[in-house]
């Protein structure tokens, strides 16, 4: 079985009282299996059996939902401060070369306060931030940008693989434009197995560069007015990734910078650290000694804050008569601009008796790729799920069955069977050969599977306090990317104390609260929820001890449930919550919780299916239905989980049918740095979506799942298009031009 990436398991035995626990960590956006030493069972908290939960493992409405939909929620973009300047950034209009500018001319513009050169006259990639201006309004700042009179002098560039690999291409990387990774597997054995395979196929698959398209663009508002302190309101995936970097730029001590992330509008892997916009904002603020608002426009967003790398994969695969994959050979190239791009490698999740692969990245003068929701995985999935489909039809086998034949983990079997049942595979006519439709339209079904780590580690420090007036607060510095963190932070505490969710006030998104992980690799739930649980568990025990002391009973006789404290020792013994809290000392009772390994797990699966209708006359594809079945250990909030699954399916639908950065390699231009020509799906493109939490997963631990949700959808859609009408499109997005070409109509 080909694992995505992993550290080796530890070889030394665990010390006395400790044991090794496998979890996962995020390395450049990749989930890497990771072993840590944990205490053996310490009698601490455990998640209650599912039937005993009254809030968790059910649908919980977002605690900040009303605030968000009414616009009351304050995102970094919405922060307005006294004396604040607005900053704008100019992206380079050339892929490589030099530029000159006149900062004084910008400074002379009415309403402009600061103008700075950002890149020192050198352009290394198309769209690189080269200059920034801050003014009293965004319009004044833009007047300043124009006044800079930036003149670009283009050098030689490479924007495509072909340009980068051409004779005499400009050197982009220090070690050449193409960097090879380690070869894996046994190529001789694979070649031999391919030759003797009952059926074999070979194909090339190409992936576009996808943007993150965060609803809230990248940036910060930095509140610095000279002096020794600063506050950074950051649109970030890591509250605690801001402070030291901002302090460095502002010349302050780490402890004098507060990061605030009250709400943030999506990151998908692209928002860690102060980042380019944050650094520019701090430099402008340092010079102006005034607060600076710098949230990018869409052109900036499409230019220098990352993307999902493009790629190319040539795959040869062979199977025996039963569909068992006997050999797979892959050549993989990733296109990450100045970065390396990512691909976890083939045969990805599937078993192959023999496999071999070589992998390389080709650099171009474009923005470096970044982590994007399951980095590399949708790319690998597209090639792997497509080649498996091609092999199934070549061999005359059912592609669903062929998948199961090559997946050893039974969880995938049950999930695929569930998807197939929901989407109507057994009643579908084209199960071993593609259909042809009625001359006008054709309907098809396709499948794909996912994998992810989603494990936790000890980072979070959560404080829960019960006050004598009955109010309950839970504080931790974590950020809510829109996934519902704030809601489960409150709900876990409420569950523990027998309260309703709204009786607990969650306070998150500030570096003044307890430590929290950065949200990458879907690790937040498994990092944070156990710490919240531990804090809630500890505070309940302390609370009951205090109440028991005041009542002169044994705390073992007291129980929190149904918004009251029950005294099991006496028939009439029930104290209302406020009456019980009134027995507390004036400072209330507070406890800090840390991560507890017994509460977190690692490793999720996931299967998805798509049903599409292809317009045979125009090549348009409409996704009729998508089904996702996803495990995640103990589900904290079904509503939020389904929301993540829906979001994953929608993002995959965009990747499948619409999204693609388009460059003109000859002119050196980005042709769609906007949301008109860079198309994402809208409400009218939504299929019927069935988001199903796999309740047969009975692991009593929490695991992150969000990245798994985005992996198989595009593959399933592409396979469904082929299943409908025989059009095998091997390059995303599946736009009408490509579908018509695959139908042999162009």
């Amino acid at each position: 079985m080909a694992r995505a990436l992993q550290d080796g398991p530890p070889t030394e035995p665990a010390p006395e009282g400790k044991e090794w626990k496998k979890t996962s960590k995020d390395v450049d956006g990749h989930p890497v299996d990771h072993w840590i030493l944990v205490d053996k069972d310490d009698g601490g908290p455990t998640w209650p059996a599912r039937e005993r939960l009254s809030l968790l493992n059910k649908d919980i409405e977002r605690v900040d939902g009303a605030e968000k939909v009414t616009g009351a929620a304050v995102y970094s973009h919405d922060v307005r401060l006294e004396g604040m300047l607005y900053a704008v950034v100019l992206p380079a209009a050339i892929p490589q070369g030099t530029y000159s500018l006149d900062l004084d001319a910008a400074r002379a513009v009415d309403g402009v306060v600061v103008a700075q050169d950002v890149a020192g006259g050198e352009v290394r990639y198309l769209g690189q931030a080269v200059a920034a201006v801050a003014g009293i309004t965004p319009d004044h700042a833009r007047d300043g940008l124009r006044a800079l009179g930036v003149e670009f002098e283009a050098g030689e560039w490479a924007l495509t693989r072909e340009q980068a690999m051409a004779e005499g291409a400009p050197a982009i990387g220090r070690r050449g434009n193409r960097r090879s990774g380690r070869a894996r597997g046994d190529s001789d054995a694979t070649r031999a197995a391919l030759e003797s395979a009952a059926a074999a196929v070979e194909a090339e698959y190409t992936l576009p560069v996808q943007h993150h398209v965060c609803l809230e663009t990248h940036g910060v508002v930095v509140d610095y007015r000279g002096g020794g302190e600063a506050t950074v309101y950051a649109s970030t995936q890591g509250t605690f990734t801001i402070g030291s970097e901002a302090a460095g730029t502002l010349g302050l001590r780490d402890s004098d910078v507060t990061a605030v992330v009250e709400h943030m509008g999506g990151g998908f892997g692209s928002k860690f650290g102060l980042d380019i916009p944050g650094d520019i904002a701090c430099r402008l603020a340092l010079e102006a000694e005034r607060p600076v608002h710098l949230l990018l426009d869409r052109k900036g967003e499409s230019s220098f804050v990352g993307n999902r790398s493009g790629g190319w994969q040539r795959v040869k695969a062979g199977c025996d008569e039963t569909g068992k994959l006997v050999a797979l050979d892959a050549e993989i190239e990733t296109y990450g601009g100045l970065g390396r791009g990512s691909n976890p490698g083939l045969p990805y999740i599937y078993d192959a008796q023999e496999y071999s692969r070589v992998q390389a990245s080709v650099m171009t003068n474009t923005d470096s790729s970044r982590a994007m929701r399951a980095p590399g995985h949708p790319q690998a999935s597209f090639a792997m799920e497509s080649i498996l489909d091609e092999l199934a039809y070549e061999a005359g086998l059912d592609p669903l069955e062929l998948r199961k034949t090559n997946l050893s983990d039974p969880v995938y079997h049950r999930q695929l069977d569930r998807v197939a049942a929901e989407i109507g595979w057994s009643e579908h006519p084209n199960r071993t050969a593609p259909g042809t439709g009625d001359g006008w339209t054709a309907t098809g079904i396709g499948f794909g599977v996912a994998t992810w780590g989603g494990g936790g580690r000890p980072v979070c420090e959560v404080d829960v306090k019960i006050s004598s007036d009955g109010s309950v607060t839970v504080e931790v510095g974590t950020q809510d990317l829109g996934t519902g963190v704030r809601t489960y932070v409150a709900a876990i505490v409420a569950e523990e104390l027998g309260l309703q969710v709204e009786q607990v006030t969650p306070r998150i998104g500030s570096s003044r609260y307890g430590a929290a992980n950065a949200s990458g690799g879907s690790v937040t739930t498994a990092c944070l929820a156990p710490s919240v649980k531990a804090a809630a568990w500890a505070v309940r025990r302390s609370f009951l001890e205090k109440v028991a002391g005041a009542r002169g009973v044994d705390s073992g006789q007291l129980k929190c449930a149904d918004g009251a404290v029950h005294d099991l020792s006496s028939a009439a013994g029930k104290l209302s919550w406020s009456a019980a809290c009134a027995l507390l000392p004036s400072e209330g009772v507070a406890e800090r919780g840390k991560w507890n390994h017994k509460l977190a797990g690692n490793g999720v699966h996931g299967a998805q299916g798509a049903k599409v209708e292809v317009d045979l006359k125009t090549g348009q594809v409409q996704v009729l239905e998508m089904v996702a079945v996803q495990d995640c250990g103990l589900p904290l909030n079904h509503l939020a989980l389904r929301s993540q699954l829906n979001g994953g399916m929608i993002q995959a639908l965009g990747y499948a049918l619409l999204e693609e950065r388009v460059l003109d390699p000859e002119l050196g231009l980005n042709l769609n740095p906007n949301m008109e020509d860079y198309k994402i799906p809208g409400s009218m493109q939504m299929p019927l979506m069935k988001a199903i939490v796999d309740e047969e997963d009975d692991r009593q631990v929490v695991i992150g799942m969000s990245e798994a949700a985005v992996i198989p959808g595009a593959s399933a859609i592409a396979n469904a298009v082929h299943n409908a009408c025989g059009a095998r499109v091997r390059e995303l997005p599946l736009t009408p031009d490509k579908v018509l070409a695959a139908l042999g109509r162009v």
């Binding site: 209009a93 319009d139 833009r142 007047d143 124009r146 001359g439 006008w440 317009d615 045979l616 006359k617 125009t618 090549g619 348009q620 409409q622 049918l657 619409l658 388009v662 003109d664 000859e666 002119l667 231009l669 042709l671 769609n672 008109e676 020509d677 198309k679 799906p681 809208g682 009218m684 493109q685 736009t735 009408p736 031009d737 018509l740 070409a741 109509r745 162009v746």
Partner: protein, 334 residues
């Protein structure tokens, strides 16, 4: 967007006086008219033009509303696209026009955009829309689409510019042989839709219409409905909504006894102007109203197409769209 002065005249005469009498060096942009602003504001934000003055037409009462004229309709240029789509008379008698208007952009844009603005909108070509590409349309020397990324560009009527006209409404109006009434310093004139637009080879390549710098569309006249002439507007998009057309077809058919007795067809987003394949219209007459004929007619409509490097797919796509339009007219009650 650069600073500009905003003038809000209340009469046509005032408005015309505020606009330049002749095109200046860079295409006559010292003052520009604005109505719904749905296109113009995007043009200004991308800084394709930086007019010193915008002349808002919203105060000109003569330019609004719908009135009946004989059996036809006169639509004010300031009518919202959403109102064109919703008018029950248009929906009943000029169906393709209602469908075309309904297919424009999104509800928010349809509620703001005007009929006149839709007809006068600038091309969507991404080279034209990029301030970093000094293309032919903006007074430069080259149409970058010709040898560049041209999947959305023209397959008919191209050269030296290869833009397509993006309006959905114009092909539908041309189908109904509608005309526009204009006002300028030189007086008033009436132009058929087919005369309003010009091919890049036939006139100043920086413009899409024959309108002068101070010439405003006052209204659109729809001739009397033609009983038995059934019409529809069919549009292919990459994204099924809120997307400009890859190709579009306004089709009108009269059939008797299973045979086509009259056919009119205007294609959108395939040429720099609404494109009327007249030979196909003529060949259709006398053919049976059935799939084999539709395919033949569509093939004739595509004769003479000259695709660029990346838009060859538009030929089968448009052909397929024409067939779909015929099918729709025969099978659905439109």
């Amino acid at each position: 967007m650069e600073r500009f002065e905003l003038e809000i005249p209340t009469t046509v005469t005032e408005a015309v006086d505020l606009l330049p009498a002749s095109w200046d060096e860079d295409g006559g942009r010292e003052a520009m008219p604005i109505a719904g602003g749905q296109d113009l504001l995007t043009v200004l934000k991308e800084e394709l033009y930086a007019p010193e003055r915008l002349v808002h037409l919203k105060g000109i009462s003569d330019f609004g509303g719908i009135r009946e004229s004989g059996k036809g309709l006169v639509l004010g240029a300031l009518l919202k696209v959403a109102s064109v789509a919703a008018d029950p008379r248009i929906r009943l008698h000029w169906r393709a026009l209602a469908e075309a208007a309904e297919s424009v952009a999104s509800p928010q844009i349809r509620n703001q955009a005007t009929l006149g603005g839709n007809l006068c909108q600038r091309p969507r070509c991404w080279y034209f829309r990029s301030s970093d590409a000094p293309c032919l349309k903006k007074g430069g020397y080259e149409c970058y689409a010709y040898g560049g990324k041209n999947k959305y560009n023209a397959i008919f009527g191209g050269g030296p510019s290869y833009i397509v006209h993006p309006s959905d409404i114009a092909p539908a109006l041309q189908l109904f042989r509608a005309s526009v009434k204009t006002q300028s310093g030189g007086g008033s004139r009436e132009l058929a839709i087919s005369e309003l637009y010009t091919l890049p080879a036939d006139s100043d390549v920086t413009r899409e219409t024959v309108l002068g710098p101070d010439e405003l569309i006052e209204s659109v006249s729809l001739p009397a409905p033609e009983p038995g002439f059934k019409t529809t507007y069919v549009k292919a998009q990459e994204r099924g909504s809120f997307d400009f057309a890859l190709s579009a077809v306004a089709l009108g058919v009269r059939a008797q006894g299973g045979k086509i007795t009259e056919c009119r067809m205007v294609l959108g987003s395939v040429a720099p102007v609404p494109w009327q394949p007249e030979r196909a219209e003529q060949e259709a007459i006398g053919m049976k109203d059935e799939p084999e004929s539709w395919a033949k007619i569509a093939a004739v409509a595509m004769e003479g197409a000259e695709p660029l490097s990346e838009n060859g797919y538009k030929v089968p796509l448009t052909k397929g769209l024409i067939e779909k339009a015929f099918k729709r007219l025969r099978e659905e009650d439109v």
